[in-house]
Symmetry: C2
Subunit: 692 residues, 2 copies
């Protein structure tokens, strides 16, 4: 839309002139910290962010590597995120006897703080533009495949050099579809301890129905503490707690790690999503969800085991549904189409751009068509859907990949990624056999249904057995549930894996050639084209728009801007804020039935609460999955809330930002400390937050 | 939809067989009390209504003749309705010094009860099927026009006979598009006194934004008392107050007077609405609203004067918008089209039906086309938009019409209607000159813009003057603001009106021939065709579906059935109920800004309230405009709430009932008595309601 507006501006105002800037429209964009939207903020909100503000907020921002965001909120390493970002860890430290997901957790002192089994946090310490070096690795006359390989090798080299010289986690990030490459260096914390989490019922009050909707009444918060050398980290860059919370109308900023967006996708790519990939994923997730729900219905322990995965699947399904509906509407696709044709017209009018980049769109369309022809093989010829399945695959690939030069390895196995990968593979988090069996059965059954019994993959894998029988044998026979055994295999290398008769490893070895074939085919035929053509489009964008636009999300640190603001909803207005009053109203409106039931303390201590305190609020800031747990920061650099969701109107934001009613949903700082003090007797941590 | 399903059932189950019943689907229908949906209730809710229950509820139901419903709720004539039904009367008894709309009203004892200037209430005492008599008046060989005339004359005769013999208000009602005619006799009350009304801010909390939406938090209630011979009416048929209010899931019934629906309209009629009439009305209402808002902005007194009309216009606009959007969606029209073509196919397959009724659809389509050609003349050649304008028109027509035989008179001037008409014409309610001037100016200006200066009507009316000048002169010069002067004219008859040089009467005399011309043209060319063809379609429906279907709404007493139930909304679920907690939440969510501000007593006395009491709830009962104030009655015949709105998804219900998420919104009895006792110190009336 923004580009479309630009094109229009161009025609109306300065026909024939190509030097212009993009007008500030909605509060759109997930901007990199090297290129904050100062112009838009100035024009719309009348001030500029200082470099000091930007550095402070960046260094206080925390990436949760399993897919979320957070921030330092005290000088002693205290970190705020969402309950649902913490959920995986909560589940891993829980047992049938001590169910912290259900009952919540509060460490009254340092001794009680509970170590997380496999949580890695990253702080973005520095950013360095390495575009020239990466793009420079491509020599004239190289094929597209060779160019891709050359860039990959150069990126791996840069990462390796950086890690060796700084000991910091070092990732080369591709931005603007390859228009720029940046080296991001992260400080890493792996000794992270749980300080506070409320009951899941209140963190996820309203459950799947209320997920991705607003008005909302969720205490979706959790507190961790980062340790180093056995001591709490001295986090001098922390966000000061604003005890009053968000005010309607005030400008706010979100600093977090949006996972991925496809806003720079071409129409051909979006259509492939709408016609094949999204419906396919919806179908896959629905069947997996059904299997898990059936498993969870067996009893309370099964329910506990399955909860976190059920939540993830429900969450994703609601996202896919929202995206699919958004893309199925006429108006959005028409806008996109107009935007793309305007952009292509500008490229075609400038001969130097046209010759370099003009063919990129058709190349992408051809590659998408090719990919669709092999959709079934590339999707279903794989081991997936259960933890044992993915551990076995990872181990079999690991020992083969690490023998190769870094530049030739599969993605995920580069030198700089190995430490984090091993950390995940060695995770002591429990593996539940019953759940593994039903999940593995279902994914094998699904492949069987999709590929048919004559498919060579299916023949190799099943070898005449039924999916259920095979899955049962594997889960029963495997020792991969033991982290020590996994370590043994990894450390034993190729020969240990080749010699293993662990049934999961045996199966993974059978699957490996198929996976490699589809990976190689996809890389040669699809990825290389998409990457190269995407880079061309990215460079064309650069030539026309410069850095007045923002890059697609890449699960790296971004800054969004906006204001606390309601929106038109279902014939009326959604309010900027909600309060504890509304929590009780919504619960009583359903007679307290699940998922609108409240923990006992909420009725027992209701009279102690100041019910008028803000619980949740909405802001116009542009966020997406991965932003969960991101701090909402005011002009003064103080935290006023924590992002935990987007409204239903925001879901199509993967493809386009919706100016009218896209909103991010946050828990308010005022509501958090009110709950900590009055409901959870957690005055000590509330005092720490409020620097008392 | 229902008919479509029937047709499908027919094909699937009993092809070639025509004796079948309509399957019970949603909680659809506004049923006459002679034909309650016993089968549907039995099948869905497992019980039957007794004749005693039906009679009791009917006799406790009250029609507010200016467009609403209500019910007796104590043995001493106490009547419950909505604040917004009472609003017109509240405004009429208010002055600048005593603004009961703004401040509310409570009569602490009988002496303080305040008489309403022109409120007429009707109770449906008896119902008699007169179909044979009315249809029998049509003799073989009569033209359609003559047939219409004959039916009208017969209806007027029946009404006159009944009124003479019983002294009861007697209306012949046409049901099923003329498939049946019934004589309804009403007991009438005109001495009606105001007992209680809350502040408009809480009755209409959320204002225009929240209107026709849910979740909702409105105390939209008012209490009147009916008097006869200066004493409270002994109302032995009253609805017992259920102090606990509505329970989620329980079956409930709504007894009230839905104004009108067009569910039996043909596609041609619906298309004419969608293409011309609805957009036209939206345009007219928008401009009138703009004029009134500008007037109201002049000061608090102007605001007070305009409030009730502004509300009505906003309300209608939201309805028209909702209808227009509903009809603009593809799915609804596709359904309607399918339904109509199935119905027509059934008619065409039965030769005796085909020959009698088969041509009706095309006749309607032709008449609609003809009407559209004269849309401008029939719409804009009229005096309208202000009270003086309509009083002048009514008086000029009155004296001419009453000279004719009853059967030849214009609708609205039949003998049986005259008493109520005079009651309205003689109303002492104040007329505000400033507001009259701007409204009359605008309607004249609108006609001028639509018809052009060369139109004979405009020439006759304006006579070279500008609309504003003319309106000013008329409002300044007329004595019609004085009820005694109006009475003088009516009683003086044609000669008095002919001799009058009151400028409003002079104008009305000029307009009268044009009005008569368009009325006659419409009657001869459109109404006669639509009525006759509509009757044919009605009879065809009878032949095929019998009384398993319900007739379109006619502002006569109807019974709807359903259950207290939430619904899918904006990605989540709307709750069955809301509480006082939610009222405070929504107000605070907007920082208490208008229209989400609360009267002072709501903050001062908040701690006294049991906030968990139900304030509003939704049920699946099928209602529409005119149902405002209808009691929601449980299985035991007790009142559990009062209908005050439909949700936004229900607006298209004028044309089709939406099974999925059509809901009626009600104030709960529990919330009402809680507010009366704790906020309004109105314990005496709460005691009367609860029979304490």
């Amino acid at each position: 839309m923004k580009e479309y507006q630009c094109a229009l501006m161009l025609i109306l105002i300065c026909a024939g002139c190509f030097a212009y800037t993009v007008p500030a429209l909605g509060d759109e964009g997930m901007w990199t910290f090297d290129n904050p939207p100062q112009k838009q903020i100035q024009e719309k909100y009348g001030f500029a962010l200082t470099q000091e503000w930007l550095d402070h907020v960046r260094l206080a921002s925390v990436r949760f590597n399993d897919g979320g965001s957070g921030s330092f909120v005290s000088p002693h390493g205290l970190i705020l995120t969402n309950h649902h970002v913490a959920l995986g860890q909560l589940q891993k430290v829980s047992t049938a006897a001590n169910d912290y997901v259900k009952n919540g957790f509060y460490a009254r002192d340092a001794k009680e703080e509970m170590k997380c089994p496999d949580l890695e946090l990253n702080i973005l310490i520095s950013m360095e533009d390495v575009t020239r070096r990466v793009q420079g690795a491509v020599k004239p006359g190289m094929t597209e495949k060779a160019a891709l390989q050359a860039r990959k090798a150069e990126m791996a080299k840069i990462e390796k050099e950086s890690q060796d010289s700084t000991s910091l986690r070092s990732d080369v990030v591709s931005l603007y579809s390859g228009g720029e490459y940046w080296l991001y260096r992260y400080k890493k914390y792996t000794d992270v301890r749980l300080v506070f989490a409320p009951e899941e019922r209140i963190a996820f009050f309203g459950g799947d129905p209320d997920n991705f909707t607003y008005p909302r009444y969720d205490l979706d918060m959790a507190l961790f503490r980062a340790y180093e050398d056995g001591k709490p980290v001295e986090s001098k860059n922390y966000l000061k707690w604003n005890a009053a919370g968000a005010k309607a109308g005030e400008p706010v900023f979100v600093s977090g790690n949006p996972g991925s967006t496809d806003r720079l996708s071409t129409i051909a790519q979006i259509e492939a999503q709408r016609e094949t990939y999204l419906p396919g994923r919806i179908k896959q997730y629905k069947r997996r969800l059904e299997v898990l729900r059936k498993y969870a219905a067996k009893g309370p322990e099964e329910m506990r085991q399955a909860t976190s995965q059920v939540r993830r699947l429900e969450n994703s399904l609601k996202v896919f549904d929202g995206e699919y509906k958004g893309l199925s509407g006429m108006s959005l696709m028409a806008k996109k189409q107009k935007e793309e044709s305007d952009f292509r017209m500008q490229v075609s009018r400038r001969p130097e751009l046209a010759s370099k980049y003009g063919a990129a769109w058709d190349a992408i369309a051809a590659a998408e068509k090719k990919a669709l022809n092999r959709y079934k093989e590339t999707t279903f010829r794989s081991l997936r859907g259960s933890r044992i399945a993915s551990l076995a695959s990872q181990i079999v690939q690991y020992v083969a990949e690490v023998k190769k030069p870094d530049g030739e390895r599969l993605d995920g196995f580069h030198e700089s990624q190995l430490e984090s990968l091993r950390f995940r593979i060695y995770s002591p988090a429990p593996i539940y056999s019953g759940m593994e069996t039903v999940l593995l059965t279902d994914s094998l059954q699904e492949s069987f249904e999709q590929l048919g019994q004559e498919d060579t993959f299916m023949k190799a894998v099943l070898n005449g057995q039924r999916p259920g029988t095979l899955a049962e044998q594997i889960v029963k026979g495997t020792k991969l549930t033991d982290p020590a055994f996994r370590k043994e295999l990894i450390e034993g290398g190729q020969s240990a894996v080749d010699a293993s008769n662990d049934p999961a490893i045996v199966l993974a070895r059978k699957v490996d050639p198929f996976t490699r074939e589809t990976q190689k085919w996809t890389e040669d035929n699809i990825d290389s084209v998409l990457t190269t053509a995407g880079e061309k489009i990215g460079q064309a964008r650069f030539a026309i728009y410069g850095k007045t636009v923002y890059p697609d999300a890449t699960f790296t640190l971004r800054l969004s801007f906006g204001a606390v603001k309601g929106y038109p909803m279902n014939g009326t207005e959604a309010p900027p804020k909600t309060t504890f009053f509304g929590l009780y109203d919504r619960s009583l409106g359903f007679d307290g039935k699940s998922p609108f039931d409240l923990p006992a303390r909420y009725s027992e201590r209701r009279d102690k609460l100041d019910l008028a305190k803000t619980l949740n609020f909405v802001c116009t800031c542009d966020t997406i999955g991965g932003n969960s747990g991101s701090p909402v920061v005011n002009k003064a650099g103080e935290i006023v809330g924590v992002i935990f969701d987007g409204n239903i109107e925001s879901l199509v934001g993967n493809y386009i930002y919706n100016d009218a009613d896209n909103r991010s949903v946050a828990v308010d700082t005022a509501g958090m400390t009110e709950a900590l003090r009055k409901l959870y007797d957690a005055g000590a941590v509330a005092d720490e937050l409020e620097s008392k």
